[in-house]
Symmetry: C2
Subunit: 372 residues, 2 copies
């Protein structure tokens, strides 16, 4: 299943200014497209990916061979359908699937940036993708859509480009990272940086991989993606390949075995420094901050129609955060709808088989398409 | 403030059989007492400590100099009062404050047990403390009490010794570890075992300390002790000693700085192997397991009065777990009362200033004392 080809990418024609004050010199952006752009350009949908996602939404992942991360939402006969839509998804800057990130060569030295890569923000990620749209000649979009960190980018896009998308769909997300969100990310970063194989970030040159640290970071984060009830239903206290407790430190319980597998397989496909940079960008995210703490001001003057979706079992970005966004949108005079869906799967629900989510996105997109 | 004296301890007169099938040869149990045992022995209260607690409930900690971990509950004029009660608290076996544990010398080699220490259970911890009671000549207790893992021991004590305590108080606890509980502990264990300074458990002999791994384990666990609302109220997105984001990986946010401090200070007072063993004991805990999965059967024939307390913001051992225990107690015909207290502090509430908790424990103990 391995697709042995380089990531499709484009070097931006202009330098990219960043929130930190630095500039990325004509960064490379990797992206995938599906479908055909309509002559009037009006059928384009930009999908933003989540923390550990990438541009491979609906085609097999080149490293794992697994189906694209949003194949349930994107594809033939799906709500986002290449038969009807032109679908674009780009790897975020700071990422590790072809877009400029800490593993990219520093233009001055040719060595990997590592921690010399500038700390980026969600707004920087969006700025890079808008530059990509410009470079590709794509004007006003039918929609932008994303879940989790993808939803943050969708909201940031709406705030920074109030007329560039007719619809904004933000799923299982928040307009800011909470203290608890930051805390979990900090645990992950400390786990990575504590790994001697991280080598102060210069592990690529050293030929090492901070496997243990990155795996622990992934394990801690993964718990936050699932619900307590979901974990109980799926694993409970069931034992792994044994009929009795081992009285040892092997993975006695299925949930331990599952988590260890999640940690180890993640290491095979993700760069530890990208994990640091992207979690940092999320922690820095607070859409209201530049607007005196008033979220509604971020959305003033937007012409987009918004759909917000949360899941009742998502404790990472709970329903209360989506409601806060909807209230701000309403206060800003925007056209906003909101649904809390029931799902036992916690935050990860947006990636899983939740038919209600598909019906909702499908109906919303068709309504926007039918509008003027 | 440092109390430079050895832990008070007693070597048990008999070997201690363990659930794993092994035996500890006359293990040492470290303990502290307060108050005076009444001539009829009827004023004794056994306090069980939590995962990272110890026997220093109400006197300063010998390593940190901080007040005892339950000084709000135990002391002159407190619900558990040395003027009225004989108060006993022992370090659990597997611990690192003087009781037999992985840092103790192996009788055959004189070297620290490390991972040759047998994997223990909550029932083993209780068995050791009952042996201590026997050795001290203490028969029927007025009460056993504990929060978190201390509550697990209180419930286990009630199940194994249905007539040995007149009252059982179990706070912020559960009768079994959930998949999510196990998952968080597994992250911590993996963080410790990933630290090269852990040396396969033999770090004491190597003269190293797996600081980074143990700190990450503590950080991850610490998040589960607090509530999302509590973290938001206490830290929110406030910055630490700076007026703007640093665009780096230092602790920009107060919550990061706080967590790092929690991790680093924990390393100074706790043994990494003890952390492995005690978390494992908690993960193995399922009081109903030996009773065909029927929790009520664990409590059949008990003569004790039970008080269960949960906190509404505790997501580690939520109210639903306490309710499950109360239902089992009622089904077993036991005398059980239950209160869910309001507190913003999450699981840690049982250690903090919650006046309602003190009133409740005080009233309950006085009612039991006034009874026959």
């Amino acid at each position: 299943m391995n697709v042995a080809r380089p990531h499709r990418s484009l070097r931006l024609p202009l330098d990219l200014p960043l929130d930190c004050g630095q500039t990325l010199a004509r960064p490379t952006i990797a992206f995938e497209t599906l479908g055909t752009l309509a002559p009037d350009g009006g059928n384009a949908i930009l999908i933003f990916h989540a923390l550990t996602g990438d541009q491979y939404v609906a085609v097999p992942h080149p490293l794992t061979g697994k189906p694209g991360w949003w194949h349930r939402m994107v594809g033939e006969g799906r709500p986002i359908d290449p038969a009807r839509h032109f679908i674009l998804c780009a790897n975020v800057i700071g990422g590790c699937m072809g877009s400029e990130g800490p593993a990219s060569p520093h233009p001055a030295t040719g060595r990997p940036f590592a921690l010399d890569f500038p700390v980026i923000t969600i707004a920087d990620m969006v700025r890079a993708q808008v530059a990509l749209l410009d470079a590709l000649g794509i004007g006003r979009l039918l929609a932008v859509i994303g879940g989790s960190m993808g939803g943050m980018q969708a909201l940031q896009f709406a705030a920074d480009h109030p007329d560039r998308a007719r619809a904004v769909i933000a799923i299982a997300t928040a307009a800011r990272h909470s203290a608890q969100n930051i805390a979990f990310h900090e645990v992950g970063r400390q786990a990575i940086m504590a790994d001697p194989d991280w080598r102060g970030g210069r592990f690529l040159e050293a030929g090492t991989v901070p496997r243990a640290g990155l795996a622990v970071a992934r394990m801690a984060a993964h718990i936050t993606y699932l619900s307590e009830a979901g974990l109980t239903a799926r694993f409970g206290r069931r034992l792994q390949d044994r009929s009795a407790l081992s009285f040892g430190f092997d993975a006695d319980f299925q949930v331990e075995s599952y988590l260890r597998h999640q940690g180890m397989s993640f290491v095979e496909r993700f760069d530890a420094n990208s994990y640091l940079y992207i979690t940092r960008a999320m922690d820095y995210f607070d859409l209201a901050e530049r607007h005196g703490g008033v979220l509604a001001k971020a959305f003033r003057g937007t012409s987009a129609r918004f759909a917000l979706v949360s899941f009742d079992s998502d404790w990472l970005y709970p329903t209360s955060e989506s409601k806060r966004i909807v209230q701000a949108l309403v206060a800003a005079g925007a056209h906003a709808s909101f649904v809390e869906l029931q799902s036992p799967h916690g935050h990860d629900s947006f990636l899983l088989d939740v038919p209600e989510l598909n019906r909702l996105v499908d109906g919303f997109l068709r309504a926007v398409e039918a509008g003027s």
